[in-house]
Symmetry: C2
């Protein structure tokens, strides 16, 4: 299958060891795997309850943006699909982004972050979001650290969680947020229950959709636990991206209608010719909850997204029955969202930290 | 005392009945009253758990804004002081407001809403926020209703909560949100415990501050349960505002420095000459958590706000000791924030409702 072909370089480079070490991987290799309740945790950022609680506060704190208007949750809304429901995001000062916001749910299973894979970890992604002029808009790392260090309730928590002489550091802010993000996992979808043996967990139409999904080779990119290719430890390491050309079959009517080739993807990051229109393969988990679709958010519905993928990636004109069956299957990928209590954001009594008018 | 003078018209107009009916009102009238756990509930919008749960979802749902970027919570952040910590708010499309966002905490005790008192109830305030071009930016009531009615999980809840042939109506959207807002009460501040008899609940400095607060006559406007004058049922009815001239003593250096007289307040709503620079008296509850201060958010710290009020309202140059003592007292007004669980926002599987790019 195609994914094996794409994984060969990594496998040849020592990935087999990691691959073989995973108990769930049996022969023959099964591309369909339920979502674990826990994602991979990097050695450099172990999880603790106090760190996660701190990270949750920071995730919801708009004081991490220059204007005090945007928190991580503004675009990656965990009360919903982990995205913003918009074609493209809106950052500080009303600045419009150019790409559709991916979901934060299960992002911890990604080997690279951003649609062009330019961040090698959740920690690095947090750091670049904060300083992006069209996102959180903070001027520099120092400004972020000063903002957070000015808040007594944060100072005490950072000291407790990280210790050291400068507990409130840019690295530690990113670590705390990333630790919280690693709790944003949605296991136990009906698909997961189906894979675990509950054959009645999904409808007959969804089962047909799953068969089509494999038969027409959607699965060649959208496989493994997060339906987005390798996860850290499985052939790929963190920072190694699993990319695909999009559109793979150029020149379709869809490409023109939805301007799919205007943005040249990973090439904008690397400048390498073979990266032109390469994009990180995106998770399909909770995909029914994250319309609109694709990197520019131009496709409004999931059924149309399935049609577009069939044509642009697999050169297939899917029948309406195939489309509806696959959509029914994709709806089984909506997981269980963890219950969360609102954090209280630490106060700065008698004054504030937002200078912008 | 001044507040009695100000209340006389209302009392003469039948307010005494309501006034006398309140068991907490004993002779002599005591301006200092602990915050009840429940605010007045209007007969037209009784509270139910299902309505409050629905209202909470709507309160946090950015799909109530034209761009899908702003929820009620964006500016009235209940994870924090119920405001946005900014001088003035930022609405859709990056549009800057002209006034500082008041806290939503305990807003249910107000007889009128907005700093200029232009909304006679929480319900009416919700309705005008949604359609304000510089706030939520929805084009008209119908657009709001269509947006919400397009979301299956809302349709079913509105039917269950409100019944009738058109359960998803503009009125009902406002009612649900207002019902949730009436749960946003912060009782049991250390000040409340002090008033209830726990004399050690506040420090000696705070007690001195409370004495100064009464002696210099801050209390002549900032009295009763919400430290903002009458509440519905106490002399004033919903829609009847308790206003004060600000600056009361014009021409101070503060007025110039902080441009306090540029915005002429309630006059902009009524066009009545005597409403020029009249402003609704604001709550002091949680005031330490809602910097910056005043209608234009020009004053950054609470101590400076106390100095400004002393001079512009009472024609007094407060000593530094008086200021610090009053600030210490004001910090005892921070209440207990109710624990809340994140709502899940009802989804629109396979598509979205935000059209804006």
């Amino acid at each position: 299958m195609k994914f094996l072909r794409r994984m060969l370089p990594a496998l040849a480079a020592g990935g087999w060891m990691l691959f073989a070490a995973l108990p769930a991987v049996a022969a023959p290799f099964n591309a369909l795997q339920p979502l674990p309740k826990q994602p991979p945790i990097p050695a450099g950022n172990p999880m603790t309850a106090a760190k996660v609680a701190l990270g949750q506060q920071l995730y919801f704190d708009p004081r991490l943006s220059s204007t005090g208007t945007h928190s991580c949750n503004t675009c990656h809304n965990v009360l919903a699909g982990g995205d913003d429901g918009r074609a493209v995001s809106v950052g500080v000062d009303g600045k419009m982004g150019t790409r559709n916001t991916p979901t934060i749910w299960n992002a911890a299973f990604n080997t690279v972050l951003y649609r062009d894979g330019r961040a090698p970890s959740l920690e690095e992604q947090v750091k670049s979001h904060l300083l992006s002029p069209g996102e959180m808009g903070m001027p520099d790392e120092q400004a972020v650290v000063m903002r957070i260090a000015a808040i007594p309730g944060y100072r005490s928590q950072f000291a407790r969680v990280f210790g050291g002489s400068e507990p409130v550091s840019y690295d530690n802010i990113a670590k705390a947020i990333a630790a919280y993000e690693r709790t944003l996992i949605t296991p136990d979808s009906s698909y997961d229950r189906y894979l675990r043996g509950d054959k009645k967990a999904i409808s007959g139409q969804a089962r047909r959709g799953l068969e089509e999904f494999q038969k027409v080779q959607c699965v060649s990119c959208h496989f493994w636990v997060n339906m987005a290719g390798p996860v850290p430890g499985l052939a790929f390491k963190m920072g190694e991206g699993f990319y695909e050309l999009f559109p793979n079959y150029p020149g379709t009517a869809y490409e023109k209608q939805y301007r799919l080739a205007d943005d040249i993807g990973r090439y904008t990051v690397t400048g390498i010719e073979t990266d032109r229109r390469m994009w990180r393969v995106m998770t399909l988990r909770n995909i029914a909850l994250t319309a609109p679709y694709f990197h520019n958010g131009m496709v409004k519905t999931l059924d149309e997204a399935v049609r577009v993928m069939g044509k642009t990636q697999l050169n297939k004109d899917l029948s309406e029955q195939q489309v509806q069956d696959i959509v029914a299957f994709l709806n089984t990928l909506n997981g269980q969202f963890p219950k969360q209590t609102f954090p209280r954001l630490p106060a700065t009594p008698n004054g504030g930290v937002i200078d912008a008018r």
